[in-house]
């Protein structure tokens, strides 16, 4: 299984990379939504994207709306990982088509549990 990490913070990308690769995912990274769309277009197709909200060029919310509007990208699971934690923001993201939402700060366990909820991980390995 392949994960795409989309965050303008190199530190956060490193941390998330470690979590998903420890679980057995292969992993690529993008620094904003536009870079991420470009990567998806040329492949490998991610099974899941972990998406920060606040990024330059194209933010995470816009990325989500773009992906969800493309029929052939419908099978990609989208999980926000962001400091945006207002109730209304979470509702917006879910309404735009995000499948899950993790609020920063988070512990590695939290990511594993969310991936399990999504059916991408079972008993600690990619499903």
């Amino acid at each position: 299984m392949h994960a795409l990490i989309i965050d303008d913070s190199r530190a956060m990308r490193m941390i998330l990379r470690r979590i998903v690769t420890d679980l057995g995912f292969s992993c690529s990274e993008a620094g904003n939504g536009e870079e991420a769309l470009a990567q998806i277009a040329i492949g490998p197709r991610p099974d899941i994207c972990l998406i920060d909200w606040n990024m330059p060029v194209m933010d995470g919310y816009t990325f989500v709306t773009r992906v969800r509007s493309e029929a052939d990208l419908r099978d990609i699971t989208l999980m926000m990982v962001t400091t945006e934690s207002e109730h209304g923001q979470i509702v917006r993201a879910l309404a735009a088509g995000a499948h899950e939402y993790v609020i920063k700060p988070f512990t590695p366990d939290a990511i594993v549990e969310k991936l399990t909820l999504l059916g991408l991980v079972r008993d600690g390995v990619p499903a």
Binding site: S85, H87, I90, T107, D109, A110, E113, K114, L117
Partner: protein, 277 residues
């Protein structure tokens, strides 16, 4: 006022034995910082006195262990038991309780309440109209019970096992915390209860969650708790322990019934117990 070496050694050994968390040399200040509030609450003059106390007081020992292992409990912990709750237990009880149309559930070591409120969410989502349910959440720690009654959780806690859709449906932001919806809070009653002591008068329960608490007790006390709990559960009711707990080799009036890889326990009636069923 600092911790004596003997106190530190005792605490480090206790925590390591019970939880595998290691406090090595240099961490004395951490043990002191984490035990001091408990020592004050327990009326002890300092942490050394409190460490003497926990050697003879299992209740305080448990509080000490909890304070020394920052353990964020999860919503829908281990997930499978909650799936069995929704897919198997509830339908069975909906069929069996058609007259009273009321369910009673006991969260018997409720800690900060994630278990009780997880069940409340599932009940709210699955109970047909005309049905009601109550959840009794008990714990030996009054601090924990206050947390359950407040129904307020921090962001890091809300990340643990909570589907985002349920987060936004059942919680609102209050400052830096998330607060449970009033209709769920109304379903949960809290009560102070020490499992190792005789139970106060309690109603008959349809489902008991007794998860991840028996590990703190000696075998004979474990068996005793399980026996006394059986008396509080309806003959067609259910008991759930923690995912790595078992009643294997225990002389207790419960029958193991695995459902979807979850160890569910059903009350053994006296007659069945005699025939060794």
């Amino acid at each position: 006022m600092s911790l004596s070496p003997a106190s530190f050694d005792y605490v480090a050994a206790l925590v390591r034995r019970e939880t595998a968390v290691i406090y090595d040399a240099g961490k004395e200040y951490l043990v002191e910082a984490r035990l001091l509030p408990l020592a004050r609450e327990a009326g002890e003059v300092d942490v050394d006195a409190y460490v003497l106390r926990i050697q003879r007081d299992l209740v305080e020992a448990r509080k000490a262990i909890d304070a020394l292992t920052i353990n964020e409990t999860s919503w829908f912990r281990d997930n499978a038991p909650y799936q069995v709750f929704t897919d198997v237990m509830l339908p069975a009880l909906l069929e069996a309780r058609g007259a009273a149309r009321h369910l009673r559930i006991w969260s018997a070591a409720c800690s900060s309440g994630q278990e009780a409120y997880s069940l409340a969410m599932l009940l709210h989502e699955s109970l047909p109209s005309g049905w009601s349910a109550e959840i009794l959440a008990t714990d030996v720690s009054t601090t924990m019970l206050e947390r359950v009654a407040a129904g307020r959780y921090g962001q890091v806690e809300m990340n643990r096992g909570m589907p985002a859709t349920r987060l936004v449906r059942w919680f609102t932001r209050v400052g830096s915390n998330w607060e449970i919806a009033p209709e769920l809070r109304a379903m949960v009653r809290t009560r102070h209860l020490n499992l190792a002591a005789p139970f106060p008068p309690l109603p008959t329960f349809d489902i008991v969650f007794l998860r991840n608490v028996l590990i703190y007790f000696e075998m004979d006390v474990k068996c005793d708790i399980l026996r006394r709990t059986r008396d509080l559960v309806a003959p067609d009711g259910f008991l759930l322990l923690g995912s790595s707990e078992t009643t294997l080799d225990m002389d207790v009036p419960w029958h193991r019934e695995p459902i979807d890889r979850v160890q569910v326990l059903r009350p053994l009636t006296p007659a069945a117990a005699l025939t060794g069923a």
